[in-house]
Every structure is written in structure tokens, then in C-alpha cells.
């Protein structure tokens, strides 16, 4: 019998794995990818609650989260391209000044 708790624990594990990815990875693109993983964990949580409360608002929220994540990835990747072009590095440790 799969309850709400199962889905929430799965979502928590996914969020923790995404968080470990954000902290550990040094490549800017991989940090953005780990943030996408955390978005997906939140989506799973929303949909599980939407089914549990029989309210479709959770799925509407997932609709908007997917849209906002797509817009954010667009701008984030544009910034990453600029960084690679100017500083010739994608290592997050070497990007420590706002103006060069």
C-alpha cells in the first residue's frame, strides 16, 4: 500500500541528492543541472499532495514551476555561455569577482 508518506520520502531523497550535487559539483552547468533535480523533487511533492487532498491546485503549481524553471534555465545558460566566453573557465571556484 503506497501512501503519501512514500512519495514524500522519495521527494526528500531526490531533493537531498540534488543538494549534494549543487554543493559538490564545480562546473557551472552541472550545478544548474542539480538545481533542476531539486525542482523535480518539489514537483513530485506537489503532485503527491494534489492527489492526497483531491485538489488540482498542486498540478497547476507544477505547470507554473516547469515554466519558470525553463525560463530560469534559459537565462542561466546564457550567463554560463558568457562566462565561458569571457573568463575561459566554467569552474565556479574561479568566478569570484563581479566585474573583471
Amino acid at each position: 500500500m503506497i501512501t503519501l508518506t512514500h512519495y514524500l520520502i522519495l521527494s526528500a531523497l531526490l531533493l537531498a541528492i540534488g543538494l549534494i550535487g549543487v554543493i559538490t559539483r564545480r562546473n557551472i552547468l552541472m550545478i544548474l543541472l542539480s538545481i533542476e533535480l531539486m525542482f523535480n523533487a518539489a514537483n513530485l511533492s506537489f503532485v503527491a499532495f494534489s492527489r492526497s487532498w483531491a485538489n488540482a491546485t498542486g498540478q497547476i503549481m507544477v505547470f507554473f514551476i516547469i515554466t519558470v524553471a525553463a525560463a530560469e534555465v534559459t537565462v542561466g545558460l546564457a550567463i554560463a555561455i558568457l562566462l565561458a566566453r569571457k573568463l575561459h573557465t566554467l569552474n565556479a571556484d574561479e568566478i569570484h569577482s563581479l566585474k573583471w
Binding site: L4, F63, A69, T74
Partner: protein, 169 residues
């Protein structure tokens, strides 16, 4: 019983793909495992009865966002020194501890949420395109229109940022 088998299989596959995402050396392998994780997530959405959101997940997230990632990785991957490999052991250990703490906190909350109760049976129209569409165009019309502004801002921002210098007048 079948539902439990499906849930544990898909959940285990998704967590395995997530671990490959954060530990793989090759960026392309990470993106492809995230693609696998998103497909597993779409399967879980179908199990929960959210059919429209599952289709959106595959179309938008896996089909647009990850393809964009792949394009940028292939565009920027020509010089191999751009990809760093070293992470100190202290940082890895610290991140695993932080992840475990987060899991314990959220898991503790999750166990207190409706413990032991199975999920209620979905209403016949739950999660279909018709119901989501009806909600989007009545109750949530304002956020729906505002996302169009957000997408426009993202497009203009991305083009302005990533434009090459030769086209600047």
C-alpha cells in the same frame, strides 16, 4: 501489490539516475541520466493520476530544457580544460552530511503527514487536460498570463546576453 512493485522499481531507478547525475564525470552522461530520472518521474505522475502534468513533464522539461542543456554543453565543450574534476574530500563529506540532515528533517515531517492512510481514489476527471485547462482559464488566469511576460523576459534576456559582439551596432 502491483502498485507497490511499480513504485519501488520506478523510485529506485529514479534515485539511481539522480546519483549518476551528480557523480558522472562526463556532462553529457549527467544530462542523459537526468532525462531518465524525468521519465521515471513522469511514470510516477501517471501513477498518481496527474496525466496532463506527466505529458507536460516529458514535452517541456525533458524535451525542451534538457535539449537546451545538451546544446549548450556541446557548444561549450570544445576545450577540455573547461571541465574541472577535483573536489576536496572535506566538501564531499560535508555535503553528504548536509544531505542526510535534510533527508531526516523532511522524512520526519513526511512520516507525520497522514500516517498509514492510503491515497484516496481519484475522481473521474482528476488530472485530465479538461480540468487543468478549466482551472487555468478561470481561477488561475492571472498567473497564466503573467508567465507569458516571464517567458518574454527570459527570451529577450537570453538573446541579449549571448549575442556575439559582431552584431553590436
Amino acid at each position: 501489490m502491483l502498485e507497490a512493485i511499480a513504485f519501488y522499481t520506478i523510485g529506485g531507478l529514479m534515485l539511481g539516475a539522480a546519483v549518476v547525475v551528480i557523480t558522472s564525470r562526463q556532462p553529457v552522461y549527467s544530462v542523459l541520466s537526468l532525462l531518465a530520472a524525468m521519465f521515471c518521474l513522469a511514470m510516477l505522475f501517471v501513477m498518481l493520476g496527474a496525466y496532463f502534468v506527466a505529458a507536460l513533464q516529458i514535452l517541456l522539461y525533458a524535451g525542451a530544457v534538457l535539449v537546451l542543456f545538451l546544446f549548450v554543453i556541446m557548444l561549450l565543450n570544445l576545450r577540455s580544460e573547461l571541465i574541472p574534476h577535483v573536489t576536496s574530500t572535506l566538501r564531499r563529506a560535508g555535503s553528504i552530511i548536509v544531505g542526510l540532515l535534510l533527508c531526516l528533517q523532511l522524512g520526519g515531517l513526511a512520516i507525520h503527514a497522514r500516517i498509514g492512510q492510503s491515497l484516496p481514489d481519484a475522481a473521474p476527471g482528476f488530472g485530465t487536460v479538461e480540468e487543468i485547462g478549466r482551472l487555468l482559464f478561470t481561477t488561475y488566469l492571472l498567473p497564466f498570463e503573467l508567465t507569458s511576460f516571464l517567458i518574454l523576459a527570459a527570451i529577450v534576456g537570453a538573446i541579449t546576453l549571448a549575442r556575439s559582439k559582431q552584431t553590436v551596432r
